[in-house]
């Protein structure tokens, strides 16, 4: 059963067509990797799904509901949550407060929301930073915080935009493990990433975007071994 369906999604900025007729279906509990060169429209795709941008044409259907043109907060509350490549923490607030805001969208009681937030923070491994100002976290900590805020909304679908960017290789492994746990906990995941080792380790299907449109989608091994994909999008280093 598909939980997220894109039907002919297009987005133009003036004369520039950032997305052209994107139609894909994502099955429930799937882990879909998304790759493509810079400017292929990966982030624009996420923004049009999650409500930061409104599509020029086409439809976004999430959990059998047409959510095309919904505002970002409404999409997030419905259970379709994205993260940004550049993190958006509330710097002058504690880690706990950062996550509690998300918990409050689901839970009315202040105490329960804080307990819920604390559980999520423990889960992503930030327990010892609970009362620290989020602005003082190192990059890897901010990535975990971004994930915690997303998880606190109890998402059905996560759109992860380059969560591994800016991390050194030793920091990546635990985050990759965390992503695997989140996915296995029952969250459908769309994963935009440049780090191919992570993409290949996690993805069940792989989508290649090129000039705003899907070039190929399918089994990750088959996709990365496809001659056109190798030639045009992975370059010589893969």
């Amino acid at each position: 059963m598909s939980i997220l369906k894109l039907e002919g999604l297009s987005k133009s900025f003036g004369g520039l067509k950032a997305l052209r007729d994107v139609s894909i279906e994502v099955s429930e509990l799937e882990f879909l990797g998304i790759i493509g060169p810079n400017g292929a429209g990966k982030t624009t795709l996420f923004s049009n799904i999650a409500g930061q941008l409104t599509p020029t044409s086409g439809r976004v259907v999430f959990d059998d509901t047409d959510i095309t043109g919904w505002s970002a907060d409404r999409v997030a509350k419905a259970g379709l949550v994205r993260t940004f490549q550049l993190m958006r923490p509330f710097e002058s607030m504690t880690v706990l407060d950062n996550v509690a805001i998300a918990s409050h969208q689901k839970i009315r009681s202040s105490r329960q929301a804080r307990n819920h937030a604390a559980d999520v923070i423990e889960r992503v491994g930030l327990g010892e930073y609970m009362e620290k100002m989020s602005g003082t976290l190192p990059t890897a900590g901010l990535k975990r915080l971004e994930l915690a805020r997303a998880l606190a909304l109890e998402p059905k679908v996560l759109l992860l935009d380059e969560v591994l960017a800016g991390l050194v290789p030793t920091e990546r492994a635990p985050i990759i493990e965390l992503l695997r746990e989140i996915h296995q906990g029952g969250v459908t995941t769309l994963f935009v990433e440049h780090i191919m080792a992570a993409v290949m380790a996690l993805s069940e299907r792989l989508l290649v975007m090129h000039e705003g449109t899907p070039l190929m989608i399918g089994d990750p091994q088959e996709v990365v071994n496809d001659p056109t994909v190798i030639e045009a999008y992975l370059g010589e280093d893969y």
Binding site: G51, Q52, S71, A72, D73, R74, A76, K77, V81, R82, T83, F84, M87, R88, P89, F90, E91, S92, M93, D97, N98, A100, I101, A102, H104, Q105, S110, A113, M133, G135, T136, L137, P138, T139, L142, R149, A150, A152, L153
Partner: protein, 335 residues
């Protein structure tokens, strides 16, 4: 990473936090300068001690009310990043609301002031939700700014049409003076200052402790991030404008008994509140409180030497001095 900074190098933000925890040094420095200046006035000022006492107490009372008006302005700026040019006119509107409720409906002015709170909240909320949210976009900060200017003109001229330009007055049932530290203190002014402090404390509590406050601080820090975690940013904008209006509602309600009521009565407060807010740091709540007290004190103590409008001159000299030494304001974030 150093503990004194809330900002990591790659995540610089131009928006100061509404409430900030580590500001002890600035507070101590401000107090030290203030104490030195006051001591200077007492010892070398050449004025009778009794007069200086009187000026200090008046200054604190005046400053409390200034702080409340500025609190609304800084809250709105901190969250919406817009200077509300209608702050003064909204103050006047609150005073006329109290005037109407007390003279037409015969209510006690202080009860009328309490009733003005929900009225002004609804006014601010509706203005933001109905008009401002439509003109606020990513592209332009001028449009919403001009809309607040328009609202200001609308209110002032609407009041002129309805009430004319002749001064009106609200009679306080608590008029009179009490003796404090050997000086006479006007009771309505004392009540106004205490009321301002109570509302300031309540507002801080709301921002620190409630889910709404959490959401408001989140939007102030990063509106994109707030929407990402499910916060309805436009709703928070409307609530914030409503709370900003509540500040002037309380200030207006409490000031009405000792203000000569004309449709432009609040106008000077737009400028003064702006000076206070920039002095304290745009978007900072402690900044507005401290700034209000400083300006109040400078104005009253200054009037010992420069009677009449001359004391305002000192306020602006101080303003320029602070801008020169600390451009981000006393409690503002470095940009």
């Amino acid at each position: 990473m150093s503990k004194t900074t809330n900002f990591s190098p790659e995540q610089t933000s131009a928006h100061p936090p509404l409430l900030k925890r580590r500001q002890t040094r600035i507070i101590l420095a401000t107090i030290a300068v203030a104490v030195l200046l006051v001591a200077g006035v007492y010892l070398l000022g050449g004025q009778p001690t009794r007069l200086v006492n009187q000026a200090l107490i008046s200054g604190v009372l005046l400053g409390g009310v200034y702080a409340l008006v500025s609190l609304g302005l800084t809250l709105i700026f901190g969250v919406l990043h817009i200077v509300n040019f209608a702050q003064g006119a909204m103050l006047t509107l609150s005073m006329y609301t109290v005037f109407m409720l007390s003279t037409q409906a015969g209510l006690n002015p202080y009860l009328a002031a309490v009733l003005t709170i929900p009225i002004m909240f609804a006014f601010g909320w509706a203005f933001q939700a109905g008009i401002m949210n439509r003109v606020m976009g990513d592209t332009s900060h001028e449009r919403p700014l001009l809309v607040t200017l328009g609202l200001s003109l609308l209110i002032i001229n609407g009041l002129l049409m309805a009430f004319g330009g002749r001064p009106a007055a609200v009679e306080s049932p608590l008029a009179g003076s009490i003796s404090l530290f050997g000086t006479l203190v006007d009771r309505p002014r004392l009540i106004a200052c205490l009321g301002a402090l109570v509302v300031g404390a309540l507002l801080t509590l709301v921002l620190r402790k409630t889910p709404l406050g959490l959401a408001i601080r989140a939007v102030a820090a990063n509106d994109t991030g707030a929407a990402l975690v499910g916060v309805n940013v436009k709703r928070i904008y409307a609530m914030t404008f409503g709370l900003g209006a509540v500040c002037v509602a309380v200030a207006g309600g409490l000031m009405a008994p000792f203000t000569s009521l004309i449709p432009t009565a609040g106008e000077q407060f737009t400028t003064l509140a702006f000076v206070i807010v920039v002095l304290g740091g745009l978007g900072s709540i402690p900044g507005a409180l401290v700034g209000g007290l400083i300006v109040g004190l400078v104005q009253t103590v200054g009037s010992l030497y420069l009677p009449g409008g001359g004391s305002l001159l000192l306020v602006f000299v101080l303003f320029l001095l602070v801008l020169f030494l600390r451009p981000q304001g006393l409690f503002g974030a470095k940009q």
